[in-house]
Protein backbone atom coordinates (compact mmCIF):
# COMPACT_ATOMS: atom_id res chain seq x y z
CA UNK A 1 0.00 0.00 0.00
CA UNK A 2 2.78 2.40 0.92
CA UNK A 3 4.48 1.46 -2.31
CA UNK A 4 1.31 2.20 -4.18
CA UNK A 5 0.91 5.63 -2.64
CA UNK A 6 4.56 6.37 -3.15
CA UNK A 7 4.29 5.44 -6.80
CA UNK A 8 1.05 7.34 -7.17
CA UNK A 9 2.80 10.54 -6.18
CA UNK A 10 5.83 9.71 -8.25
CA UNK A 11 3.49 9.14 -11.18
CA UNK A 12 1.66 12.42 -10.59
CA UNK A 13 4.90 14.37 -10.48
CA UNK A 14 6.02 12.74 -13.69
CA UNK A 15 2.59 13.47 -15.15
CA UNK A 16 2.99 17.14 -14.29
CA UNK A 17 6.23 17.26 -16.22
CA UNK A 18 4.78 15.43 -19.18
CA UNK A 19 1.78 17.74 -19.26
CA UNK A 20 3.78 20.94 -19.15
CA UNK A 21 5.93 19.70 -21.98
CA UNK A 22 3.02 18.29 -23.93
CA UNK A 23 0.67 21.28 -23.89
CA UNK A 24 3.17 23.49 -25.64
CA UNK A 25 3.62 20.90 -28.32
CA UNK A 26 -0.09 20.39 -28.81
CA UNK A 27 -0.68 24.14 -29.05
CA UNK A 28 2.01 24.47 -31.66
CA UNK A 29 0.52 21.62 -33.56
CA UNK A 30 -2.90 23.20 -33.43
CA UNK A 31 -1.79 26.58 -34.69
CA UNK A 32 1.04 25.77 -37.06
CA UNK A 33 -0.03 22.23 -37.92
CA UNK A 34 3.48 21.04 -37.41
CA UNK A 35 4.78 18.25 -35.23
CA UNK A 36 7.67 20.17 -33.74
CA UNK A 37 10.32 17.53 -33.26
CA UNK A 38 12.65 20.17 -31.87
CA UNK A 39 10.47 20.51 -28.80
CA UNK A 40 12.69 18.23 -26.72
CA UNK A 41 15.68 20.32 -27.69
CA UNK A 42 13.92 23.48 -26.51
CA UNK A 43 13.25 21.73 -23.23
CA UNK A 44 16.93 20.85 -22.97
CA UNK A 45 18.00 24.38 -23.80
CA UNK A 46 15.57 25.71 -21.20
CA UNK A 47 17.14 23.48 -18.59
CA UNK A 48 20.67 24.61 -19.44
CA UNK A 49 19.78 28.28 -19.39
CA UNK A 50 18.05 27.88 -16.05
CA UNK A 51 21.18 26.11 -14.86
CA UNK A 52 23.34 28.92 -16.14
CA UNK A 53 21.45 31.57 -14.24
CA UNK A 54 20.98 29.49 -11.10
CA UNK A 55 24.35 27.84 -10.71
CA UNK A 56 26.74 29.94 -12.72
CA UNK A 57 25.34 33.38 -11.94
CA UNK A 58 23.68 32.57 -8.63
CA UNK A 59 20.25 34.00 -9.44
CA UNK A 60 17.49 32.63 -7.14
CA UNK A 61 15.68 29.51 -8.37
CA UNK A 62 12.32 30.99 -9.30
CA UNK A 63 13.93 33.99 -10.96
CA UNK A 64 16.30 31.73 -12.88
CA UNK A 65 13.38 29.75 -14.26
CA UNK A 66 11.59 32.98 -15.09
CA UNK A 67 14.52 34.49 -16.96
CA UNK A 68 15.19 31.26 -18.79
CA UNK A 69 11.53 30.96 -19.73
CA UNK A 70 11.57 34.46 -21.20
CA UNK A 71 14.76 33.78 -23.11
CA UNK A 72 13.35 30.57 -24.47
CA UNK A 73 10.24 32.47 -25.48
CA UNK A 74 12.52 34.52 -27.67
CA UNK A 75 14.22 31.40 -29.00
CA UNK A 76 10.80 29.95 -29.81
CA UNK A 77 9.80 33.09 -31.66
CA UNK A 78 13.09 32.99 -33.54
CA UNK A 79 12.55 29.37 -34.46
CA UNK A 80 9.15 30.24 -35.87
CA UNK A 81 10.50 33.16 -37.87
CA UNK A 82 13.59 31.47 -39.23
CA UNK A 83 12.46 27.90 -39.73
CA UNK A 84 8.73 27.36 -39.67
CA UNK A 85 7.49 30.61 -41.14
CA UNK A 86 9.34 30.13 -44.43
CA UNK A 87 7.88 26.63 -44.53
CA UNK A 88 4.30 27.59 -43.81
CA UNK A 89 3.07 26.38 -47.18
CA UNK A 90 5.04 23.14 -47.25
CA UNK A 91 3.80 19.68 -46.36
CA UNK A 92 4.43 18.48 -42.84
CA UNK A 93 7.28 16.20 -43.90
CA UNK A 94 9.34 19.28 -44.52
CA UNK A 95 8.57 20.67 -41.11
CA UNK A 96 9.57 17.48 -39.45
CA UNK A 97 12.91 17.38 -41.20
CA UNK A 98 13.54 21.05 -40.56
CA UNK A 99 12.69 20.48 -36.92
CA UNK A 100 15.14 17.60 -36.78
CA UNK A 101 17.77 19.89 -38.27
CA UNK A 102 17.02 22.48 -35.61
CA UNK A 103 17.19 19.79 -32.94
CA UNK A 104 20.64 18.68 -34.12
CA UNK A 105 21.75 22.27 -34.05
CA UNK A 106 20.53 22.96 -30.53
CA UNK A 107 22.09 19.80 -29.20
CA UNK A 108 25.44 20.50 -30.80
CA UNK A 109 25.27 24.06 -29.55
CA UNK A 110 24.57 22.99 -25.98
CA UNK A 111 27.41 20.52 -26.15
CA UNK A 112 29.73 23.19 -27.50
CA UNK A 113 28.84 25.58 -24.69
CA UNK A 114 28.33 23.33 -21.70
CA UNK A 115 30.13 20.18 -22.74
CA UNK A 116 28.81 16.67 -22.98
CA UNK A 117 29.10 15.95 -19.25
CA UNK A 118 26.07 15.49 -17.13
CA UNK A 119 25.35 18.50 -14.96
CA UNK A 120 23.45 18.65 -11.77
CA UNK A 121 21.25 21.55 -10.80
CA UNK A 122 20.81 22.32 -7.13
CA UNK A 123 17.64 23.87 -5.79
CA UNK A 124 16.69 25.59 -2.56
CA UNK A 125 13.62 23.39 -2.28
CA UNK A 126 14.61 20.59 0.00
CA UNK A 127 12.96 18.29 2.47
CA UNK A 128 9.84 16.32 1.93
CA UNK A 129 6.54 15.17 3.28
CA UNK A 130 5.44 11.92 4.77
CA UNK A 131 2.08 11.03 3.29
CA UNK A 132 0.59 7.80 4.59
CA UNK A 133 4.03 6.33 4.98
CA UNK A 134 5.21 7.44 1.58
CA UNK A 135 8.17 9.80 1.36
CA UNK A 136 7.45 12.56 -1.13
CA UNK A 137 10.11 15.18 -1.79
CA UNK A 138 9.10 18.81 -1.74
CA UNK A 139 10.41 19.29 -5.26
CA UNK A 140 7.89 16.78 -6.57
CA UNK A 141 5.06 18.48 -4.72
CA UNK A 142 6.13 21.76 -6.29
CA UNK A 143 6.03 20.09 -9.69
CA UNK A 144 2.52 18.79 -9.21
CA UNK A 145 1.19 22.08 -7.85
CA UNK A 146 2.84 24.21 -10.53
CA UNK A 147 1.59 21.94 -13.26
CA UNK A 148 -1.97 22.17 -12.00
CA UNK A 149 -1.84 25.96 -11.71
CA UNK A 150 -0.28 26.49 -15.11
CA UNK A 151 -2.72 24.09 -16.74
CA UNK A 152 -5.71 25.77 -15.16
CA UNK A 153 -4.53 29.22 -16.22
CA UNK A 154 -3.87 28.05 -19.73
CA UNK A 155 -7.21 26.31 -20.09
CA UNK A 156 -8.92 29.45 -18.91
CA UNK A 157 -6.90 31.55 -21.30
CA UNK A 158 -7.71 29.44 -24.33
CA UNK A 159 -11.38 28.90 -23.65
CA UNK A 160 -12.37 32.20 -22.15
CA UNK A 161 -10.07 34.91 -23.33
CA UNK A 162 -10.50 36.13 -26.86
CA UNK A 163 -6.73 35.96 -27.37
CA UNK A 164 -6.83 32.29 -26.57
CA UNK A 165 -9.64 31.84 -29.04
CA UNK A 166 -7.53 33.33 -31.77
CA UNK A 167 -5.30 30.29 -31.35
CA UNK A 168 -8.28 28.03 -31.84
CA UNK A 169 -9.48 30.08 -34.80
CA UNK A 170 -6.17 29.78 -36.59
CA UNK A 171 -6.13 26.07 -35.94
CA UNK A 172 -9.35 25.77 -37.85
CA UNK A 173 -8.99 28.19 -40.74
CA UNK A 174 -6.07 30.49 -41.32
CA UNK A 175 -7.70 32.56 -44.04
CA UNK A 176 -10.89 32.90 -42.03
CA UNK A 177 -8.80 33.98 -39.08
CA UNK A 178 -6.96 36.67 -40.98
CA UNK A 179 -10.26 37.95 -42.36
CA UNK A 180 -11.63 38.54 -38.88
CA UNK A 181 -8.56 40.56 -38.10
CA UNK A 182 -6.30 37.99 -36.47
CA UNK A 183 -2.69 38.02 -37.56
CA UNK A 184 -1.74 34.39 -38.11
CA UNK A 185 1.96 35.02 -38.16
CA UNK A 186 1.79 36.93 -34.90
CA UNK A 187 -0.19 34.16 -33.27
CA UNK A 188 2.20 31.55 -34.67
CA UNK A 189 5.15 33.33 -33.16
CA UNK A 190 3.46 33.76 -29.83
CA UNK A 191 2.42 30.13 -29.77
CA UNK A 192 5.87 28.80 -30.47
CA UNK A 193 7.25 31.21 -27.91
CA UNK A 194 4.66 30.07 -25.40
CA UNK A 195 5.41 26.42 -26.05
CA UNK A 196 9.13 26.99 -25.51
CA UNK A 197 8.31 28.91 -22.37
CA UNK A 198 6.19 26.08 -20.99
CA UNK A 199 8.86 23.56 -21.88
CA UNK A 200 11.37 25.63 -19.94
CA UNK A 201 9.15 25.74 -16.89
CA UNK A 202 8.88 21.97 -17.10
CA UNK A 203 12.62 21.64 -17.51
CA UNK A 204 13.35 24.02 -14.66
CA UNK A 205 11.13 21.99 -12.38
CA UNK A 206 12.53 18.58 -13.33
CA UNK A 207 16.18 19.43 -13.64
CA UNK A 208 16.79 19.30 -9.90
CA UNK A 209 15.59 15.71 -9.67
CA UNK A 210 17.43 14.66 -12.80
CA UNK A 211 20.54 15.57 -14.73
CA UNK A 212 21.28 17.95 -17.53
CA UNK A 213 22.80 16.70 -20.73
CA UNK A 214 22.53 17.79 -24.35
CA UNK A 215 20.37 14.76 -25.11
CA UNK A 216 18.06 15.05 -22.10
CA UNK A 217 15.19 16.06 -24.38
CA UNK A 218 15.31 13.00 -26.62
CA UNK A 219 13.61 10.54 -24.33
CA UNK A 220 10.98 13.08 -23.40
CA UNK A 221 10.36 14.02 -27.02
CA UNK A 222 9.01 10.65 -28.09
CA UNK A 223 6.84 10.33 -25.00
CA UNK A 224 5.38 13.76 -25.39
CA UNK A 225 4.45 12.98 -28.96
CA UNK A 226 2.74 9.82 -27.80
CA UNK A 227 0.82 11.92 -25.30
CA UNK A 228 -0.50 14.54 -27.65
CA UNK A 229 -1.48 11.98 -30.24
CA UNK A 230 -3.17 9.92 -27.59
CA UNK A 231 -5.15 12.93 -26.43
CA UNK A 232 -5.89 14.08 -29.94
CA UNK A 233 -3.65 16.58 -31.71
CA UNK A 234 -4.29 20.15 -30.75
CA UNK A 235 -6.52 19.17 -27.85
CA UNK A 236 -5.64 20.77 -24.55
CA UNK A 237 -7.68 18.48 -22.31
CA UNK A 238 -6.32 15.62 -24.38
CA UNK A 239 -2.76 16.59 -23.57
CA UNK A 240 -3.55 16.91 -19.88
CA UNK A 241 -5.38 13.63 -19.54
CA UNK A 242 -2.87 11.92 -21.81
CA UNK A 243 0.07 13.27 -19.81
CA UNK A 244 -1.14 12.08 -16.46
CA UNK A 245 -2.53 8.82 -17.81
CA UNK A 246 0.71 7.85 -19.50
CA UNK A 247 2.83 8.87 -16.53
CA UNK A 248 0.74 6.80 -14.16
CA UNK A 249 0.63 3.88 -16.56
CA UNK A 250 4.38 4.06 -16.89
CA UNK A 251 5.08 4.19 -13.17
CA UNK A 252 2.58 1.51 -12.32
CA UNK A 253 3.59 -0.98 -15.00
CA UNK A 254 7.22 -0.41 -14.12
CA UNK A 255 6.35 -1.15 -10.49
CA UNK A 256 4.01 -4.05 -10.88
CA UNK A 257 5.07 -5.65 -14.16
CA UNK A 258 8.56 -4.77 -15.32
CA UNK A 259 10.57 -1.72 -16.09
CA UNK A 260 11.12 -2.72 -19.71
CA UNK A 261 7.36 -2.85 -20.21
CA UNK A 262 7.11 0.44 -18.33
CA UNK A 263 9.34 2.03 -20.89
CA UNK A 264 7.27 0.74 -23.79
CA UNK A 265 3.88 1.20 -22.19
CA UNK A 266 3.36 4.71 -23.52
CA UNK A 267 3.67 3.42 -27.05
CA UNK A 268 1.65 0.30 -26.47
CA UNK A 269 -1.20 2.37 -25.04
CA UNK A 270 -0.91 4.70 -28.00
CA UNK A 271 -1.14 1.87 -30.50
CA UNK A 272 -4.09 0.37 -28.67
CA UNK A 273 -6.00 3.65 -28.43
CA UNK A 274 -5.45 4.58 -32.05
CA UNK A 275 -6.49 1.12 -33.16
CA UNK A 276 -9.86 1.81 -31.56
CA UNK A 277 -10.15 5.54 -32.11
CA UNK A 278 -7.88 6.68 -34.94
CA UNK A 279 -8.11 10.36 -34.11
CA UNK A 280 -7.15 10.19 -30.47
CA UNK A 281 -9.33 10.50 -27.42
CA UNK A 282 -10.46 14.09 -27.52
CA UNK A 283 -11.23 15.07 -31.06
CA UNK A 284 -14.61 16.15 -32.29
CA UNK A 285 -15.63 14.68 -35.59
CA UNK A 286 -16.56 17.31 -38.11
CA UNK A 287 -18.19 17.21 -41.47
CA UNK A 288 -16.34 18.32 -44.57
Amino acid sequence: MTLFIQQLFNGLALGGVYCLAAIGLTLVFGVLRIPNLAHGALYMLGAYITYFFLTTLGVPYIAAIGIAALLLFVVGVGLERLVFHPLRNSPHTHHMIAAVGAMFFFQALAQAIWGADFRRMKTPITGGLDILGAEISAQRIVIIVTAVIVLALLAWFIKRSIHGQTIEAIEQDRIGASLVGISPSMVSMLTLGLSALLATVAAGLVAPINLLSPTMGDALNLKVFAIIILGGLGSLPGAIVGGFALALAETMTATYISSAVGEAVAFIVLVAVLAIKPTGLFTKAVQR
Partner: protein, 358 residues
Protein backbone atom coordinates in the same frame (compact mmCIF):
# COMPACT_ATOMS: atom_id res chain seq x y z
CA UNK B 1 13.39 3.25 -77.07
CA UNK B 2 11.05 6.16 -76.83
CA UNK B 3 11.89 6.20 -73.17
CA UNK B 4 15.31 7.57 -73.96
CA UNK B 5 13.79 10.71 -75.36
CA UNK B 6 12.28 11.41 -72.00
CA UNK B 7 14.80 13.58 -70.16
CA UNK B 8 13.71 12.25 -66.78
CA UNK B 9 14.41 8.67 -67.64
CA UNK B 10 17.63 9.75 -69.23
CA UNK B 11 18.59 11.47 -66.00
CA UNK B 12 17.78 8.39 -63.98
CA UNK B 13 19.87 6.35 -66.37
CA UNK B 14 22.77 8.72 -66.02
CA UNK B 15 22.74 8.53 -62.24
CA UNK B 16 22.50 4.76 -62.34
CA UNK B 17 25.33 4.36 -64.81
CA UNK B 18 27.48 6.75 -62.83
CA UNK B 19 27.01 4.80 -59.64
CA UNK B 20 27.35 1.48 -61.41
CA UNK B 21 30.77 2.58 -62.59
CA UNK B 22 31.91 3.52 -59.10
CA UNK B 23 33.94 0.35 -58.48
CA UNK B 24 36.10 1.20 -61.47
CA UNK B 25 37.12 4.36 -59.70
CA UNK B 26 37.17 3.22 -56.11
CA UNK B 27 38.22 -0.40 -56.57
CA UNK B 28 41.06 -0.26 -54.08
CA UNK B 29 39.30 2.00 -51.64
CA UNK B 30 37.45 -0.17 -49.19
CA UNK B 31 36.18 2.80 -47.34
CA UNK B 32 34.62 4.50 -50.35
CA UNK B 33 33.16 1.20 -51.53
CA UNK B 34 31.71 0.58 -48.14
CA UNK B 35 30.14 4.01 -47.90
CA UNK B 36 28.58 3.66 -51.34
CA UNK B 37 27.35 0.12 -50.73
CA UNK B 38 25.84 1.00 -47.37
CA UNK B 39 24.36 4.09 -48.99
CA UNK B 40 22.72 1.91 -51.63
CA UNK B 41 21.21 -0.37 -48.96
CA UNK B 42 19.71 2.75 -47.42
CA UNK B 43 18.55 3.88 -50.85
CA UNK B 44 16.56 0.66 -51.24
CA UNK B 45 14.74 1.40 -48.01
CA UNK B 46 14.25 4.96 -49.21
CA UNK B 47 12.56 3.63 -52.33
CA UNK B 48 10.13 1.97 -49.97
CA UNK B 49 9.53 5.26 -48.22
CA UNK B 50 9.04 6.77 -51.63
CA UNK B 51 6.08 4.51 -52.28
CA UNK B 52 4.22 5.28 -49.09
CA UNK B 53 5.32 8.90 -48.74
CA UNK B 54 6.10 10.01 -52.25
CA UNK B 55 3.21 8.33 -54.00
CA UNK B 56 0.56 7.94 -51.34
CA UNK B 57 1.44 11.00 -49.31
CA UNK B 58 1.48 9.20 -45.98
CA UNK B 59 4.50 9.95 -43.85
CA UNK B 60 5.62 6.63 -42.41
CA UNK B 61 8.17 6.88 -39.63
CA UNK B 62 8.43 3.12 -39.19
CA UNK B 63 10.83 2.63 -42.05
CA UNK B 64 13.85 2.44 -39.76
CA UNK B 65 12.02 -0.28 -37.84
CA UNK B 66 11.35 -2.33 -40.97
CA UNK B 67 14.93 -1.87 -42.02
CA UNK B 68 15.90 -3.24 -38.61
CA UNK B 69 13.59 -6.23 -38.96
CA UNK B 70 15.16 -7.12 -42.30
CA UNK B 71 18.64 -6.69 -40.88
CA UNK B 72 17.97 -8.68 -37.73
CA UNK B 73 16.12 -11.37 -39.66
CA UNK B 74 19.13 -12.00 -41.84
CA UNK B 75 21.55 -11.46 -38.97
CA UNK B 76 19.95 -13.83 -36.49
CA UNK B 77 19.00 -16.55 -38.97
CA UNK B 78 22.46 -16.76 -40.51
CA UNK B 79 24.26 -16.80 -37.17
CA UNK B 80 22.21 -18.29 -34.33
CA UNK B 81 20.33 -20.63 -36.64
CA UNK B 82 23.03 -21.09 -39.23
CA UNK B 83 20.77 -20.68 -42.23
CA UNK B 84 22.21 -19.84 -45.60
CA UNK B 85 22.11 -16.16 -46.46
CA UNK B 86 19.67 -16.59 -49.28
CA UNK B 87 17.06 -18.50 -47.34
CA UNK B 88 17.45 -16.11 -44.43
CA UNK B 89 17.10 -13.15 -46.75
CA UNK B 90 14.01 -14.59 -48.38
CA UNK B 91 12.33 -15.39 -45.08
CA UNK B 92 13.21 -12.00 -43.60
CA UNK B 93 11.72 -10.14 -46.50
CA UNK B 94 8.54 -12.20 -46.31
CA UNK B 95 8.54 -11.61 -42.55
CA UNK B 96 8.84 -7.87 -43.03
CA UNK B 97 5.98 -7.98 -45.50
CA UNK B 98 3.77 -9.79 -43.02
CA UNK B 99 4.67 -7.51 -40.12
CA UNK B 100 4.27 -4.50 -42.38
CA UNK B 101 0.89 -5.69 -43.51
CA UNK B 102 -0.30 -6.30 -39.95
CA UNK B 103 0.96 -2.92 -38.75
CA UNK B 104 -0.72 -1.36 -41.73
CA UNK B 105 -4.06 -2.82 -40.71
CA UNK B 106 -4.13 -0.55 -37.69
CA UNK B 107 -1.88 2.22 -38.89
CA UNK B 108 -3.96 3.00 -41.91
CA UNK B 109 -7.04 3.63 -39.89
CA UNK B 110 -5.26 6.81 -38.91
CA UNK B 111 -4.49 9.77 -41.13
CA UNK B 112 -1.92 12.49 -41.62
CA UNK B 113 -0.02 13.39 -38.48
CA UNK B 114 -1.69 10.60 -36.56
CA UNK B 115 -0.36 8.18 -39.09
CA UNK B 116 3.08 9.76 -38.87
CA UNK B 117 3.29 9.59 -35.09
CA UNK B 118 1.59 6.24 -34.98
CA UNK B 119 4.16 4.75 -37.29
CA UNK B 120 6.84 6.46 -35.24
CA UNK B 121 5.48 4.56 -32.25
CA UNK B 122 5.55 1.32 -34.22
CA UNK B 123 9.11 2.03 -35.22
CA UNK B 124 10.01 2.73 -31.64
CA UNK B 125 8.36 -0.43 -30.38
CA UNK B 126 10.32 -2.44 -32.94
CA UNK B 127 13.45 -0.70 -31.71
CA UNK B 128 12.59 -1.43 -28.08
CA UNK B 129 11.95 -5.08 -28.84
CA UNK B 130 15.27 -5.38 -30.64
CA UNK B 131 17.21 -3.50 -28.02
CA UNK B 132 15.57 -5.14 -25.00
CA UNK B 133 14.71 -8.71 -25.96
CA UNK B 134 18.06 -10.00 -24.88
CA UNK B 135 17.21 -13.69 -25.20
CA UNK B 136 16.46 -13.51 -28.91
CA UNK B 137 18.14 -10.44 -30.31
CA UNK B 138 21.11 -10.20 -27.92
CA UNK B 139 19.98 -6.66 -27.27
CA UNK B 140 22.94 -4.30 -27.23
CA UNK B 141 25.47 -7.06 -27.82
CA UNK B 142 24.27 -7.14 -31.37
CA UNK B 143 24.67 -9.84 -33.96
CA UNK B 144 28.17 -10.70 -35.03
CA UNK B 145 29.58 -12.43 -38.10
CA UNK B 146 26.55 -12.21 -40.33
CA UNK B 147 27.13 -14.53 -43.28
CA UNK B 148 28.08 -13.36 -46.73
CA UNK B 149 25.71 -14.42 -49.49
CA UNK B 150 26.63 -17.80 -50.94
CA UNK B 151 28.01 -17.36 -54.41
CA UNK B 152 27.49 -20.97 -55.49
CA UNK B 153 31.16 -21.14 -56.35
CA UNK B 154 30.69 -18.54 -59.05
CA UNK B 155 30.93 -15.30 -57.17
CA UNK B 156 32.80 -14.61 -53.98
CA UNK B 157 30.73 -12.13 -52.03
CA UNK B 158 33.41 -11.48 -49.48
CA UNK B 159 34.88 -9.23 -52.14
CA UNK B 160 33.57 -5.71 -51.70
CA UNK B 161 33.10 -5.36 -55.44
CA UNK B 162 30.93 -8.44 -55.73
CA UNK B 163 28.91 -7.22 -52.79
CA UNK B 164 28.61 -3.84 -54.40
CA UNK B 165 27.17 -5.29 -57.56
CA UNK B 166 24.78 -7.52 -55.67
CA UNK B 167 23.31 -4.52 -53.86
CA UNK B 168 23.42 -2.51 -57.04
CA UNK B 169 21.42 -5.15 -58.89
CA UNK B 170 18.75 -5.27 -56.22
CA UNK B 171 18.66 -1.49 -56.22
CA UNK B 172 18.10 -1.48 -59.97
CA UNK B 173 15.19 -3.84 -59.59
CA UNK B 174 13.70 -1.56 -56.95
CA UNK B 175 14.12 1.45 -59.20
CA UNK B 176 12.48 -0.36 -62.06
CA UNK B 177 9.57 -1.41 -59.89
CA UNK B 178 9.17 2.17 -58.73
CA UNK B 179 9.13 3.32 -62.31
CA UNK B 180 6.67 0.62 -63.36
CA UNK B 181 4.32 1.40 -60.51
CA UNK B 182 4.43 5.04 -61.33
CA UNK B 183 3.34 4.87 -64.88
CA UNK B 184 0.66 2.25 -64.26
CA UNK B 185 -2.87 2.60 -62.99
CA UNK B 186 -1.57 1.36 -59.66
CA UNK B 187 0.57 4.45 -59.46
CA UNK B 188 -2.33 6.61 -60.47
CA UNK B 189 -4.36 5.03 -57.72
CA UNK B 190 -1.77 5.92 -55.12
CA UNK B 191 -1.46 9.45 -56.40
CA UNK B 192 -5.19 10.06 -56.26
CA UNK B 193 -5.09 8.96 -52.66
CA UNK B 194 -2.32 11.41 -51.98
CA UNK B 195 -4.33 14.30 -53.36
CA UNK B 196 -7.68 13.56 -51.79
CA UNK B 197 -8.80 10.40 -50.11
CA UNK B 198 -12.43 11.42 -50.16
CA UNK B 199 -12.44 12.08 -53.83
CA UNK B 200 -10.50 8.90 -54.55
CA UNK B 201 -13.11 7.03 -52.58
CA UNK B 202 -15.88 8.67 -54.57
CA UNK B 203 -14.48 7.55 -57.91
CA UNK B 204 -14.27 3.97 -56.80
CA UNK B 205 -10.67 3.68 -55.60
CA UNK B 206 -10.26 1.09 -52.88
CA UNK B 207 -8.53 3.55 -50.65
CA UNK B 208 -7.96 1.37 -47.61
CA UNK B 209 -6.79 -1.62 -49.58
CA UNK B 210 -4.46 0.39 -51.79
CA UNK B 211 -2.89 2.17 -48.86
CA UNK B 212 -2.48 -1.17 -47.18
CA UNK B 213 -0.64 -2.55 -50.18
CA UNK B 214 1.53 0.53 -50.46
CA UNK B 215 2.45 0.31 -46.81
CA UNK B 216 3.30 -3.37 -47.05
CA UNK B 217 5.35 -2.70 -50.19
CA UNK B 218 7.25 0.05 -48.46
CA UNK B 219 7.94 -2.28 -45.55
CA UNK B 220 9.22 -4.93 -47.96
CA UNK B 221 11.69 -2.50 -49.52
CA UNK B 222 12.77 -1.58 -46.01
CA UNK B 223 13.30 -5.25 -45.21
CA UNK B 224 15.28 -5.84 -48.39
CA UNK B 225 17.51 -2.87 -47.67
CA UNK B 226 18.01 -4.01 -44.10
CA UNK B 227 18.75 -7.62 -45.06
CA UNK B 228 21.46 -6.54 -47.49
CA UNK B 229 22.80 -4.06 -45.00
CA UNK B 230 23.29 -6.83 -42.46
CA UNK B 231 25.46 -8.87 -44.78
CA UNK B 232 27.35 -5.84 -46.05
CA UNK B 233 28.39 -4.61 -42.61
CA UNK B 234 28.69 -8.03 -40.97
CA UNK B 235 27.74 -6.78 -37.52
CA UNK B 236 24.45 -5.21 -36.57
CA UNK B 237 23.34 -3.51 -33.38
CA UNK B 238 20.00 -2.02 -32.38
CA UNK B 239 20.95 1.25 -34.02
CA UNK B 240 20.02 -0.45 -37.29
CA UNK B 241 16.38 -0.04 -36.23
CA UNK B 242 16.55 3.31 -34.54
CA UNK B 243 14.46 6.37 -35.21
CA UNK B 244 17.63 8.11 -36.36
CA UNK B 245 17.69 5.75 -39.32
CA UNK B 246 14.18 6.82 -40.20
CA UNK B 247 15.13 10.47 -40.10
CA UNK B 248 18.16 9.72 -42.21
CA UNK B 249 15.94 8.07 -44.81
CA UNK B 250 13.63 11.06 -44.75
CA UNK B 251 16.51 13.39 -45.34
CA UNK B 252 17.66 11.29 -48.27
CA UNK B 253 14.28 11.37 -49.91
CA UNK B 254 13.78 15.07 -49.32
CA UNK B 255 17.12 16.03 -50.74
CA UNK B 256 16.68 13.76 -53.74
CA UNK B 257 13.07 14.56 -54.44
CA UNK B 258 9.92 12.86 -53.20
CA UNK B 259 7.80 10.80 -55.54
CA UNK B 260 10.45 10.75 -58.23
CA UNK B 261 12.28 7.78 -59.66
CA UNK B 262 15.86 8.92 -59.34
CA UNK B 263 15.44 11.08 -56.24
CA UNK B 264 15.92 8.49 -53.51
CA UNK B 265 19.13 7.19 -55.03
CA UNK B 266 20.62 10.58 -55.65
CA UNK B 267 19.56 11.87 -52.25
CA UNK B 268 21.00 8.86 -50.45
CA UNK B 269 24.34 9.25 -52.14
CA UNK B 270 24.63 12.97 -51.72
CA UNK B 271 23.60 13.12 -48.08
CA UNK B 272 25.71 10.11 -47.16
CA UNK B 273 28.75 11.79 -48.61
CA UNK B 274 27.84 15.09 -47.02
CA UNK B 275 27.75 13.36 -43.65
CA UNK B 276 31.10 11.71 -44.23
CA UNK B 277 32.54 15.00 -45.38
CA UNK B 278 31.53 16.74 -42.21
CA UNK B 279 32.90 13.96 -40.02
CA UNK B 280 36.05 15.99 -39.55
CA UNK B 281 34.11 18.46 -37.43
CA UNK B 282 33.26 15.65 -35.03
CA UNK B 283 30.69 16.65 -32.43
CA UNK B 284 30.34 20.14 -33.79
CA UNK B 285 29.40 19.15 -37.29
CA UNK B 286 25.74 19.49 -36.44
CA UNK B 287 26.19 23.16 -35.70
CA UNK B 288 26.79 23.40 -39.43
CA UNK B 289 24.76 20.43 -40.67
CA UNK B 290 21.61 21.36 -38.72
CA UNK B 291 21.21 24.72 -40.44
CA UNK B 292 22.16 23.16 -43.78
CA UNK B 293 19.31 20.69 -43.41
CA UNK B 294 16.91 23.48 -42.54
CA UNK B 295 18.12 25.58 -45.46
CA UNK B 296 17.76 22.68 -47.88
CA UNK B 297 14.19 22.12 -46.83
CA UNK B 298 13.36 25.80 -47.11
CA UNK B 299 15.15 26.64 -50.31
CA UNK B 300 15.00 23.35 -52.18
CA UNK B 301 11.78 21.86 -50.87
CA UNK B 302 11.20 19.63 -53.85
CA UNK B 303 14.63 18.12 -53.84
CA UNK B 304 17.17 17.99 -56.58
CA UNK B 305 15.14 15.84 -58.92
CA UNK B 306 12.08 17.89 -58.15
CA UNK B 307 13.91 20.96 -59.35
CA UNK B 308 15.11 19.36 -62.53
CA UNK B 309 11.62 18.04 -63.12
CA UNK B 310 10.16 21.46 -62.73
CA UNK B 311 12.61 22.80 -65.24
CA UNK B 312 11.74 20.09 -67.76
CA UNK B 313 8.02 20.61 -67.20
CA UNK B 314 8.31 24.27 -67.94
CA UNK B 315 10.20 23.58 -71.10
CA UNK B 316 7.69 20.97 -72.25
CA UNK B 317 4.83 23.29 -71.59
CA UNK B 318 6.46 26.06 -73.51
CA UNK B 319 6.93 23.70 -76.41
CA UNK B 320 3.38 22.51 -76.29
CA UNK B 321 2.10 26.06 -76.15
CA UNK B 322 4.22 26.92 -79.13
CA UNK B 323 2.77 23.92 -80.92
CA UNK B 324 -0.74 24.99 -80.01
CA UNK B 325 -0.24 28.47 -81.30
CA UNK B 326 0.60 27.01 -84.64
CA UNK B 327 -2.77 25.27 -84.78
CA UNK B 328 -5.08 28.10 -83.74
CA UNK B 329 -8.09 25.85 -83.43
CA UNK B 330 -6.57 24.27 -80.38
CA UNK B 331 -5.62 27.37 -78.45
CA UNK B 332 -7.50 27.31 -75.21
CA UNK B 333 -8.48 30.42 -73.31
CA UNK B 334 -6.00 29.40 -70.73
CA UNK B 335 -2.88 29.98 -72.71
CA UNK B 336 -0.86 31.24 -69.80
CA UNK B 337 1.97 29.20 -68.46
CA UNK B 338 0.79 26.99 -65.71
CA UNK B 339 1.95 26.89 -62.17
CA UNK B 340 4.85 24.52 -61.67
CA UNK B 341 3.15 21.21 -61.52
CA UNK B 342 3.65 18.75 -58.79
CA UNK B 343 6.48 16.69 -60.08
CA UNK B 344 4.53 13.52 -60.03
CA UNK B 345 1.24 13.07 -61.72
CA UNK B 346 2.15 15.07 -64.73
CA UNK B 347 4.90 12.76 -65.63
CA UNK B 348 3.28 9.58 -64.46
CA UNK B 349 0.27 9.96 -66.67
CA UNK B 350 0.92 7.67 -69.57
CA UNK B 351 -0.98 10.30 -71.47
CA UNK B 352 1.45 13.13 -71.19
CA UNK B 353 4.59 11.26 -71.99
CA UNK B 354 3.29 9.23 -74.86
CA UNK B 355 1.65 12.32 -76.30
CA UNK B 356 5.00 13.91 -76.32
CA UNK B 357 6.79 11.15 -78.08
CA UNK B 358 4.15 10.37 -80.66
Amino acid sequence: MNALKNPRLLGTFAVVVLIGAAPAVFAGENYAMRVITVGMCAAIAVYGLNIILGFTGQLSLAQGGFFGIGAYGVGLLTTDYDWSFWSAFFVSVIGTAVIGYLCGLIALRTKDEYFAIFTMAIGFIIFLVISRWEAVTHAHSGVNNVKFPEGAGIVDFSSPIAMFYLVFLVLLICIYITHAIRRSSVGRTLLTIRTSEDLADAIGVRVGFSKQLAFAASAVFGGIGGGLYATVVGFIGPDAASIDKTFEFLMFILVGGMGTVAGPLLGSMIVTFLFELFQDFQAYRFIVLGPIIVALVIFAPRGIIGYLGEFIDRRNRRRRLAGMRRSPKETGPDGRSAAPTAETMTESGAGTTSEETK
